[in-house]
């Protein structure tokens, strides 16, 4: 199974969760790719060139976003590891959605009917691992509801959240178990 793990931060907990995911899924025999957004130097802000290209035939301008899009398009399991800010995805991960999951990758816009057709149809499981701030569930809804509209309702969702003062070791254990049995 082709697994893509998106790591949005280099903070200790997020980095540890990413390495657990990669190690456990690899040990289970899966083909795992880690997208380390900070390590790769990903710029999450939509530039004028990115936005101008968005509705064109070639919407991907940033070479790193182009590589990420190809990896994501081929994924059967998508894993997002993030630290929430104001109950929502971090700007780094939110910017990744904006710049990588463009028309032709995550969805196709029908110009006549203006309806959206799903683009990530190979994804059979979506996994979110969130270091939460206890302020709400906007991160969870963005991944498991907004993004799942692009993968299909048959995609199985999994959500793991570390609440403030939560048990980190227990979360590590649950995430490892999930990644061993994808």
């Amino acid at each position: 199974v082709k697994v893509v793990v998106v790591q949005s931060s280099d903070d200790e907990t997020v980095a540890r969760l990413a390495s657990i995911c990669v190690a456990a899924a690899s040990a289970a025999g899966h083909d795992v790719r880690l997208l380390d957004l900070v390590g790769d130097g990903f710029v999450p802000w939509m530039s004028a060139a990115d936005r101008a290209a968005y509705h064109e035939a070639e919407p991907l301008v940033d070479p790193l976003a182009t590589r990420y899009a190809a990896e994501t398009k081929a994924a059967e399991v998508l894993v997002f590891i993030d630290r929430a800010q104001l109950s929502s995805l971090s700007p780094m991960l939110k910017g990744w959605l904006e710049k990588v999951l463009v028309p032709g990758v995550a969805f196709v816009l029908d110009e006549r009917t203006h309806r959206v057709k799903r683009g990530l149809t190979d994804v059979r499981r979506l996994v979110g691992v969130n270091v939460g701030d206890g302020l709400g569930s906007n991160s969870k809804r963005t991944i498991l509801r907004a993004l799942r509209l692009c993968t299909g309702l048959r995609t199985r969702p999994s959500w793991y959240e570390l609440r403030p003062n939560g048990d980190v070791a227990e979360l590590f254990g649950r995430v490892e178990k999930r990644m061993r049995s994808l």
Partner: protein, 158 residues
């Protein structure tokens, strides 16, 4: 204390979002008798206010992407929210490519973060107003113009 600040986020110099900003500024100028402060977030985030945000009305103008604020505006909000203690009115003006039912399915995360998280960092009793244009991708010019008129009308009320 009175006064307003408009925070606009869009990477392109010319956009529908920019037109929403201009009409918001026009409405606020009518309401307050002077032009509001304007913060422009273009291709990357800008610095948060140095100390307290000394205005009563905070207006956020942006396109909704992936059911929330653009990443650069999210960064600005996260860094700026500790300075919002004197803000009594938060107004969000946002365009959505998809219809309202899609945004409901997605969870309306941009609206929720402002209403449920940001507003609680503002002055006690602060009010929230949501002015949204849904399904802009399919909207004819007449509807877009009508929405811009609505923005100016709404913000010209004191």
């Amino acid at each position: 204390m009175s006064g307003a600040i408009v925070v606009h986020c869009h990477p392109l110099a010319e956009s529908f979002s920019g037109a929403m900003r201009d009409r918001a500024i026009a409405g606020l100028t009518t309401a307050h008798g002077h032009r509001p402060q304007v913060v422009e977030i273009g291709e990357s985030p800008v610095a948060p206010p140095a100390e307290r945000l000394a205005v009563e009305t905070l207006v956020l103008v942006y396109p909704t992407w992936w059911s929330g604020q653009p990443a650069a505006l999210s960064r600005w909000l996260y860094e700026s929210v500790p300075t919002f203690g004197e803000v009594r009115r938060v107004i969000a003006i946002s365009s959505h490519g998809s219809p309202k039912r899609t945004n409901l399915l997605e969870g309306e995360n941009g609206k929720r973060v402002l209403r449920d998280v940001v507003l609680r960092r503002c002055a006690a009793g602060a009010q929230f107003e949501w002015i949204a244009f849904y399904n802009i991708d399919a909207a004819p010019l007449s509807k877009r113009v009508a929405f811009l008129d609505r923005v100016e009308r709404r913000l010209s009320r004191p």
